[in-house]
């Protein structure tokens, strides 16, 4: 059995199987990115949908830390159609269950810690993203801007398997959720 688990943990097989599973059930994805301005910063907001399956819930309930690494890029396109990356940010959010306390500790970017008693509330918190990407001053009127975000799960330790380490992205069939926003003019940002 441990060998089989190891095999199933291999990315390649997982991807192939993911293609099949895709036919039968939907994979995790982001909601449309909302771009707003707060305190002279460009803020993006989005959340992950269908990212927790029964199996992943059990991993959370086991007390293993389940973390989602979000990576965000802001791209700029000038009138000459040259594209460059203006900003790159990452966000780490995790959920840890303490069976003794029967509580869920959600860490947002290692800055704040929120405690929940219900699993669903904890999952909602960990799968919601709101981050400041870039100061407004860097936005130019006539350039176009687009935001890209993706998410990745962490690796946990499982004593029962030979390899000890297990990549939780297997629960996503190694299909990392990704979202791109449409190109928006800098003027639009400034209006908001």
């Amino acid at each position: 059995m441990p060998l089989l688990l190891k095999i199933l943990g291999i990315k390649a097989i997982g991807t192939i199987i993911g293609l099949l599973v895709l036919l039968t059930k939907s994979s995790p994805g982001f909601t449309p990115i909302i771009i707003s301005i707060e305190k002279d910063s460009v803020i993006i907001e989005t959340s992950l949908k269908k990212c927790f399956s029964k199996g992943l819930d059990e991993i959370i309930m086991s007390g293993s830390e389940v973390a989602i690494f979000y990576s965000c890029w802001l791209f700029e396109k000038d009138p000459e159609k040259n594209v460059k990356t203006v900003a790159e940010k990452s966000l780490y959010q995790s959920i840890t269950f303490y069976p003794a306390e029967n509580r869920f500790y959600v860490s947002i970017d290692q800055d704040s810690l929120i405690i929940f008693t219900e699993l669903e509330q904890a999952k909602t918190a960990v799968s919601s993203v709101k981050m400041s990407v870039v100061p407004l001053a860097l936005i130019k009127d006539n350039n176009l801007y687009s935001v890209k975000i993706d998410a990745v799960l962490n690796t946990i330790e499982i004593e029962a398997i030979e390899a000890k380490q297990f990549d939780l992205n297997a629960f996503w069939n190694f299909k990392y959720p990704r979202q791109n926003s449409a190109w928006v003019k800098g003027k639009e940002f400034l209006k908001r």
């Binding site: 599973v21 059990e58 991993i59 086991s62 007390g63 293993s64 069976p99 003794a100 499982i158 297990f166």
Partner: protein
């Protein structure tokens, strides 16, 4: 459905059944192996152990056990889904590969069988020139037997043709000898008579000379007519087709032979809707004349009835030639169109053979219906233009 189709269908169904069994078996294995995780009591027990641990060490150990239990429970859920996915993937690939391989194998096996089937069909239609390349194995033996069979059949056919040619020549020779013998005998007798009377200086010699000369000339005419008939039959007439009014042709033929058909009632029902059709007038005239003569020969003392009818039907012109004469015996019906076949005491037996040849040259067909003592009906079908 073809053999190949059936084989592929059977194989596909078997692959599907196999895949279903595989999935069911893997799920059964999963359920059996991971059955422990169906037991909620174990999990409950571990939770209680965590909550009621007496010491930090106990709590740590209980938490570790619960952690491991729930981690594996989570992996089990993942495992189940991926087993199904893997089985489906494997089953699909296996199924597709199997179908491709079995198709290729069956194609190799059935190709020689298809060739054999086509060759047998052609051989059945008379084409014995066909041979098939010989594959290896059991099918090769069958193909080899077929090739040998066609060779043997070809040889038999050649021998049969040869025998038939000889038989036909014999028949022709017999008929010709019979037809020639009678006039020659008459000529010989007349000549001998003349010589005898001349030697005896018979006073009736002039009268006898005139009478015998007439007889000799009549028999010479008969021989000439015979020679012409044989000659005409031997030379295949290629019809010179021209637009011709069939009804008018029939009426003209009847009028021309009125004298010979006195005492016979001839009824004509000629369809006026028949427009001109492409005919060789002289050849078709001969056809109707031969039919008329045959009918007249079938009557006793020239007493009888003949019905000639024309009609247009399904893109063809049909001519019916019926009489209430002596008819043909059923055992002779198959041979009436054979050259030199005759039931009459006199005649070359070429009349109906000529009719059939001319009608065939016009792209038509001729059929006979007859009953001994009741009469005969000849049906001629000719194509309409366009």
């Amino acid at each position: 459905m073809s053999l190949r189709g059936k084989a592929i269908l059977i194989f596909a169904v078997m692959s599907l059944i196999y895949t279903c069994f595989l999935i069911a078996f893997m799920l059964y294995l999963t359920t059996t192996t991971f059955g422990i995780w169906e037991n909620r009591e174990i999990e409950k027990g571990l939770v209680i152990a965590v909550n009621s641990a007496q010491s930090p060490l106990e709590q740590t150990q209980a938490e570790k056990a619960l952690k491991t239990y729930r981690q594996l429970k989570g992996l089990r859920n993942l495992f189940e889904g991926q087993i199904i996915g893997f089985s489906l993937l494997f089953g699909t690939v296996f199924f597709l590969l199997s179908v491709i391989i079995i198709s290729l194998i069956l194609f190799r096996i059935t190709r020689p069988l298809r060739e054999l089937s086509v060759a047998l069909s052609k051989a059945g239609k008379g084409d014995l020139e066909i041979t098939i390349s010989q594959p290896r194995g059991e099918i090769g033996k069958v193909v080899n037997a077929f090739n040998e069979m066609t060779v043997q059949l070809k040889r038999s056919r050649e021998r049969l043709k040869q025998t038939e040619r000889i038989a036909a020549w014999r028949d022709a020779a017999r008929t010709m000898a019979h037809e020639i013998r009678n006039p020659l005998t008459a000529i010989r007798l007349s000549t001998e008579r003349l010589i005898k009377r001349f030697k005896n200086k018979d006073k009736d010699l002039p009268k006898i000379l005139e009478k015998s000369s007439q007889m000799i000339l009549t028999e010479i005419n008969t021989l000439q007519k015979l020679a012409k008939e044989f000659s005409d039959f031997a030379r295949s007439p290629y019809p010179a087709l021209k637009p011709t009014n069939l009804n008018t042709l029939i009426k003209e033929m009847i009028t021309d032979y009125e004298d010979y058909s006195k005492g016979v009632k001839i009824t004509k029902i000629l369809d006026p809707k028949i427009s001109k059709i492409y005919l060789d007038k002289e050849l078709m005239r001969r056809v109707f004349l031969n039919l008329l003569k045959n009918s007249l020969d079938a009557f006793d003392n020239n007493k009888g009835e003949i019905l000639i009818k024309t009609e247009r039907n399904r893109g063809k012109v049909i001519v019916y030639f019926e009489d209430n004469g002596s008819g043909f015996d059923s055992e002779n019906l198959d041979r009436v169109f054979d050259p030199y076949f005759t039931t009459k005491t006199k005649g070359t037996g070429l009349g109906l053979a000529v009719v059939k040849q001319i009608v065939n040259e016009h792209g038509g067909e001729v059929i006979i219906e007859s009953e001994s003592g009741k009469g005969t009906r000849i049906i001629i079908r000719l194509p309409l233009p366009g």
